[in-house]
């Protein structure tokens, strides 16, 4: 068990190093941060002074080593664009993104799993066919388009929902939440749906496929033969065996919702990490981008580690393999 754990952590560190290197290379192609700092009308002299004070005139390798050292020591520096410490900027924005991810995850699980079970149990019903058709639309519609479309109907035409922002927030400790106010919840509806639609469709199809397969398995037939009631068979035995791959997928999706809610957050001016990312790219705010990418990589590494450990606990075969090795 311990060896398995250490192996995975070691692999995680290699992933993080690779990400840091790729991120560093990528910044070279975004353009020159000096433009955002000094302005287009700056003089050559001013620019040279800033370049020197930020260490941007040093050789590339030195800059990378500097950057690595900063990452290891947690010194992410000051955002070029916002003038605030990067750690604080990211911690300020994280709640917005995490709440959005949680809201869309709830929608995904409730609607996705529910619809998946229904369509698996009633494959021939007209309702199922309708759900499948809608889910196809959900998978194919770009979230940018869906977001703008919803804004047009629910904000511009009906005046029901706000088109941007988080509404009013309540601070609990350092965490500003929108879950506790009416306007906060209203503001969350469209962004979370936009973010969830693709995943609902995907989870639904996954649950449906897995469930149809499981329902034909020997042990289900056996359970039926034993005369257990249908509800128990479907929800306990069939669904239980369906959920293992679903949890994996949903877990990984949680990571990508936190990391890549970029489009949704930009459409709704949702002040989370995704919006921070697009704004930082435009301004070539290297300190924020560097920290952000490391943060996202870390989220993925941790989620993967947790999933691996869960497998290890769930699936006895893995334990045997680990012992052999």
């Amino acid at each position: 068990m311990l060896k398995f754990f250490i192996d995975r952590v070691f692999q995680g560190i290699i992933v993080l190093l690779a990400v840091s290197f790729l991120a560093f290379l990528m910044f070279r192609f975004l353009g020159d941060p000096i433009l955002a700092i000094a302005g287009a009308d700056s003089t050559a002299e001013q620019r040279a002074a800033i370049r020197e004070s930020l260490g941007l005139d040093a050789p590339l390798l030195l800059q990378y080593l500097d950057y690595l050292r900063n990452i290891v020591t947690g010194q992410f520096g000051i955002s070029y664009r916002l003038g605030e410490p990067v750690t604080r900027v990211i911690l300020d924005r994280a709640p917005a993104t995490i709440e959005l991810a949680v809201a869309s995850m709830i929608l995904t699980l409730v609607i996705g799993v529910g619809a998946g079970i229904y369509t698996a149990l009633h494959p021939r019903s007209a309702v199922s066919k309708g759900i499948l058709a809608v889910s196809l639309a959900g998978i194919s519609m770009p979230s940018f388009f869906l977001g703008v479309l919803m804004i047009y109907f629910f904000s511009v035409q009906l005046h029901w929902l706000p088109s941007f922002g988080r509404g009013s927030l309540v601070a609990i400790g350092g965490w500003e939440t929108g879950f506790l106010t009416g306007s906060g919840l209203l503001a969350m509806i469209m962004p979370s749906i936009t973010l969830a639609v693709f995943q609902i469709a995907m989870v639904m199809r996954l649950v449906r496929a897995e469930m149809i397969e499981v329902l034909q398995a020997e042990f289900i037939r056996f359970a039926r033969a034993r005369g257990l009631n249908a509800r128990r068979i479907n929800l306990r035995h069939a669904l239980g065996n369906t959920l293992v791959p679903v949890i994996t997928v949903v877990g990984l999706q949680l990571g990508s919702t936190i990391g890549f809610a970029v489009v949704t957050e930009t459409v709704f001016q949702w002040p989370g990490l995704g919006l921070l990312f697009t704004q930082s790219v435009e301004a070539v705010d290297v300190p924020v981008l560097a920290a952000f990418l490391m943060f996202i990589a870390l989220v993925f590494v941790v989620i993967n580690l947790v999933i691996d450990l869960l497998y290890y606990l769930i699936d006895p075969r893995l334990r045997v393999d680990a012992k052999k090795a």
């Binding site: 433009l35 955002a36 003089t43 916002l82 511009v156 941007f164 001016q269």
Partner: protein
Amino acid sequence: MKSNTRKFLTSTLLAAGLAASPLLSGDAMAKTLRIGAQADAGTMDPQAQNIMTTITLLSMIYDSLVSRDGEMQPQPRLATSWEQVEPTRWRFVLREGVTFHDGADFTAEDVAFTIERAQQPTSQFLSMAAGLKTEIVDDYTIDIITPERDIFLPSRMISLAIMDKDWAEANGSLAPQNLGEGEESFSALNANGTGPYKLISRVPDSKTVLEATGEYWGEMAGDIDTVEFYPLSNDPTRVAALLSNEVDLLIDVPAQDVARLEAAPGIKTEMVDEYRTLFIGFDHASDTLKYGDAGGKNPFKDPKVRQAISHAIDRQAIKRTVMRGLANPTTQMLAPKNVGYVEELDTLIPYDREKAKELLAEAGYPDGFSVTFDCPNNRYINDEQVCRTLVTMLAQIGIEADLNAMPRAQYFPKLWERDTSMFLMGINSPFADGIYNLEKYTMTRNDETGDGIYNYTQSDYPELNARVEDARRTEDEAERVKKIEDLYRYLTEEQFYVGLYNQVLVYAMQENVSAPVRPDNWLEIRWVTMDE
């Protein structure tokens, strides 16, 4: 009359104590102006960022010595009067009895401090303050000494927002933030001015809230109590926010939505010809084309080639299609209403493809040539589409322009290095005077004097330098204007730059809002009114 009755009733009811809730009493009458813009102000430090959105927002909190009226003429603000007592000395008389939001008095000391602060290396207003010295005559009189005779000094003062010396000292904000030192800056997050509004709260990329101090010394056209500023980076969302009445005023209206907003009920638009001329620039210096192939030569050294390019461009088509009518074609590089503007130069080089081909053949390029055309894709309105259209127009006279579109963070550093053969650029004079463009964009680059610092053509024409220098030094105003006009005529004939069009600036707002648009895109909050 009706509304008066209602007001009376409301206040009577309030007085009767029926409105026990504190919510009702405060907000019932308060006027809030919600402004939507494409980008957020980058900082609350008035000398740290020379970007119009930031300047606009901060001008609600901070006053400068001088401001502009509707005709763009300098107007007293914190200074009540000024005169050029000697060729290099301006005397400003300051307004008495003005206080900063923290209660401190505004005096000449604060003016001297602000100018010094604008000269720090981290300031983006160095070009407005470079070389200035100050002498405090008394608490309310200050002399500003310019390195040379400078008729634009009052205009320079427009963009220097006055800070309180003691406040800045007490909070360690003697200079705009130095990112290299990794330091945080109090003045980047807090503000203390003499302006009509004070900063209440700020969440970058979300919302900034200002509240009227109620004690402003100056005149306000309206009685707006609260200003809420919302950055809305996505175009459709920003437009939807106005249509759904979630904001009252949009200062960055996407060109493609203007017609739709004009047609929308309850929404109105205001337009003005912006002081921003778009033009094409060329490498005037290299012997062979750096990016492109013209048989080992650099065709752009020949005025005939530049004229040919200008004749090949159908500016009306660009206006009609890409710019949705929000552009005024021109063949020069100065916008209307600037000193030195000559209207006929706007149409000096008409669209004439045959003429273009002839000129190109005369110059020795009957079969054209190829060149890389550098173009920003997030700097000017529809910039990349404009460039793409230009490429097809040039193709019709045999010039194969290879479009190289890129974000501004890559584009400007490339221009700074003069690493371009052909580029698209926008120009505006902060002083509404043609001499500025001549100095900065056509003279030979000289980093010491600041001449030619935006001249990305690498041109070096001693005769042109001398003429600009001469115009600059001319003291008689009529004669000076004449010289500037002559220079623009010469440059337009030569097509030193190929002028394209002047942008039109649009604000859109709810019908109850009145917000006059200034050609420099500076929203003057003191002119904005809102009906109930």
